[in-house]
């Protein structure tokens, strides 16, 4: 019988791998998710018959599954598409928490002197799982704006975090080498929770996706470690898959921002720093921007040949994805060639903007990735920047002192005309001024993105 269970776990692992590879194409991605879910069902179905239930055990499982499934379903169904990143953070955090709890319970079984092969992965899982749980909750709070998104720093912060980490390592060694009284694990958990909070606090809201991805990989590793403790093949393989792919994804994301992972995690990016930008532009007070009426802009757009739309998070916040599609459709009907330039970190996560635009039925053929479209900006008559800012800021190319220096940007500045739709002159997420707005060929259209777009749509109809 154990052979059947082992084969079922193997099948589950294969389905996870297949599912992930199907996720690599938009056409098969949805099936990929189903494939992985089927693997999950098989793994769970193979587990239940192996269990020997106590009455209490059966009861807590029943109640626990009902509660968890309700929270998961309602949370995932109700969440607005703009809030996806924090939802992923939340679901990731609870997974990390579960891994830590499983490891604690498993270790308690072994008494004061657990064998090293059991104790080591358990302790690892407790620490990493707890860090992931606490860190994810902070990331959730920052993105949900329950707390400030700007980095929270104080002098000597890295030293304090280092000391917490050192304390954890010391504790781990003591537990492994000397003896583990039950409550040493709880202390370890508490310390790791504190470290998780302290670790994410100094990281700015703009960098949260990278952090969530990293914590996702952490949870995967914690799950894999629990697999070692429980001698469960499915946990080891699935957890490791997530750990490895999550680590790679984290690197890809920080690459897309042109920064090293170390800089993302420890650079307190987006902090208001004194002296930044000194010597760059001579005070923005003296500079003026150009504005135009909606009618003028409509004419400009309607009689263009090529228009490139650069959507940003501001578009998502204003729920303007449908309005922007309406405008694009209208222009296409007039023979204007319209495409969307998607910066890798547009929105709050790589691919987030694609999801939002897909929600508005924008055909994905019109969505162009940065490398694909960057050469085409010079041929564009109008670039329409809707709620984006940092991803078109030329400072990334030209001013080495700027915090975003080195980040690959969209070449919007090469277009013949640039139309900026923005609420105000407020700087973007990275907290820096954008010289592109002061260019003579740039026209600012202030106001709510959805409002402005709706007005533009009716004006284009009349043009």
């Amino acid at each position: 019988m154990t052979l059947v269970y082992s084969l079922a776990y193997l099948l589950a692992a294969v389905l996870f791998i297949l599912g992930l590879s199907q996720l690599s194409s938009p056409k098969t991605a949805r099936n990929g998710n189903f494939t992985a879910a089927a693997g999950m069902v098989i793994a769970l179905a193979a587990t239940v018959p192996q269990l020997r239930f106590t009455t209490a055990g059966a009861l807590i499982i029943l109640v626990g599954v009902v509660i968890g499934a309700s929270i998961g379903t309602v949370g995932a169904r109700q969440v607005r598409m703009t809030a996806i990143p924090q939802m992923v953070a939340l679901f990731n955090g609870v997974g990390g928490g579960a891994a830590a709890l499983v490891a604690v319970a498993e270790l308690l079984k072994f008494g004061p002197h657990p064998p090293f092969a059991e104790a080591f992965p358990s302790v690892f899982s407790i620490v990493i799982g707890s860090v992931s749980f606490a860190g994810s909750m902070v990331a959730f709070a920052k993105l949900q704006e329950l707390m400030t998104g700007t980095p929270i720093t104080y002098p000597g912060q890295q030293l304090v975090n280092g000391l917490i980490a050192a304390a954890i390592i010391g504790f781990v060694i003591a537990v492994l080498a000397i003896a583990s009284i039950p409550f040493s694990f709880l202390s370890l958990m508490v310390l790791a929770l504190i470290l998780g909070v302290a670790f994410v606090m100094p990281i700015g809201g703009a960098d949260m996706p990278v952090v969530i991805s990293l914590l996702n990989a952490f949870t995967g590793l914690a799950v894999a470690a629990s697999g070692f403790t429980l001698n469960n093949f499915a946990l080891i393989v699935a957890g490791t898959l997530v750990g490895a792919s999550g680590s790679l994804l984290t690197k890809l994301m920080s690459d897309a921002m042109g920064r090293s992972l170390g800089n993302v995690l420890f650079g307190a990016f987006g902090q208001v720093r004194a002296g930044a930008g000194v010597g760059a532009a001579p005070g923005k007070e003296g500079r003026t921007v150009r504005t135009a009426s909606v009618e003028d802009l409509a004419t400009l757009l309607a009689y263009s040949q090529r228009v490139i739309i650069v959507p940003g998070y501001g578009l998502a916040v204003a729920q303007a994805q449908h309005a922007v599609r309406e405008l694009a459709d209208l222009l296409e009907k007039r023979g204007v060639e319209v495409s969307y330039a998607i910066h890798p970190v547009a929105g709050r996560m790589p691919g987030h903007m694609n999801v939002l635009l897909a929600e508005a039925n924008v055909p994905y053929e019109q969505l162009k990735e940065m490398d694909e479209i960057n050469d085409q900006f010079k041929d564009a008559d109008v670039v329409l920047v809707v709620g984006a800012n940092d991803v078109v800021n030329p400072a990334a190319r030209t001013s080495p002192g700027s915090p975003i220096y080195g980040m690959p940007i969209l070449n919007a500045d090469q277009a013949k005309n640039i139309v900026f739709m923005k609420r105000s002159m407020r700087p973007g997420f990275a907290g820096i001024d954008n010289d592109l707005m002061y260019e003579p060929k740039t026209i600012m259209l202030f106001g709510d993105a959805k409002d402005s777009l709706t007005k533009l749509v009716s004006a284009v109809k009349a043009a």
């Binding site: 791998i17 992930l20 996720l23 690599s24 991605a29 998710n33 992985a36 879910a37 999950m40 769970l44 239940v48 269990l51 209490a56 807590i60 499982i61 626990g64 599954v65 968890g68 499934a69 929270i71 998961g72 379903t73 949370g75 169904r77 996806i84 679901f91 990731n92 609870v94 997974g95 579960a98 891994a99 709890l101 499983v102 498993e106 969530i212 996702n216 995967g220 799950v223 629990s226 697999g227 001698n231 093949f233 080891i236 699935a238 957890g239 490791t240 750990g243 490895a244 792919s245 999550g246 680590s247 790679l248 994804l249 998607i342 790589p350 691919g351 999801v355 897909a358 055909p363 053929e365």
Partner: protein, 105 residues
């Protein structure tokens, strides 16, 4: 090192390579669904949560088991549902259009 541990370690190392290999082909536009999908997969910790919860009899184990089951189930169910919601949007118009040659990169 026992034989079993050695086997487990082998699985672990191989899975690292598979994980990296599978992900390296994913286009940027699918990164968010991918993160969410892998997030759902590590919900397999529910298997572990069931194992510790099923045999629970002492109060501390009951508490640990119960919390672990709630958290892990939230992870699994929420993870897959939210991923599906994202991917649902990738169909729509392009499904009806003539299929373009698959866009790699």
């Amino acid at each position: 090192m026992s034989n079993e541990l050695l086997n487990e370690f082998t699985f672990f190392v191989l899975a690292v390579f598979v994980g990296i290999e599978v992900i390296s082909k994913v286009p940027t536009i699918l990164h968010t669904p991918l993160m969410s999908g892998t997030n759902a997969i590590h919900g397999i910790i529910l298997v572990g949560a069931l194992v510790i919860a099923a045999g629970a009899s002492s109060p501390i184990n009951i508490v640990l088991g119960f919390l672990a089951v709630v958290l892990a189930t939230t992870n699994v169910v929420g993870g897959f549902v939210v991923t599906d919601r994202m991917l649902e949007m990738f169909k729509g118009r392009q499904a009806a259009k003539t299929p373009e040659p698959a866009k790699t990169r």
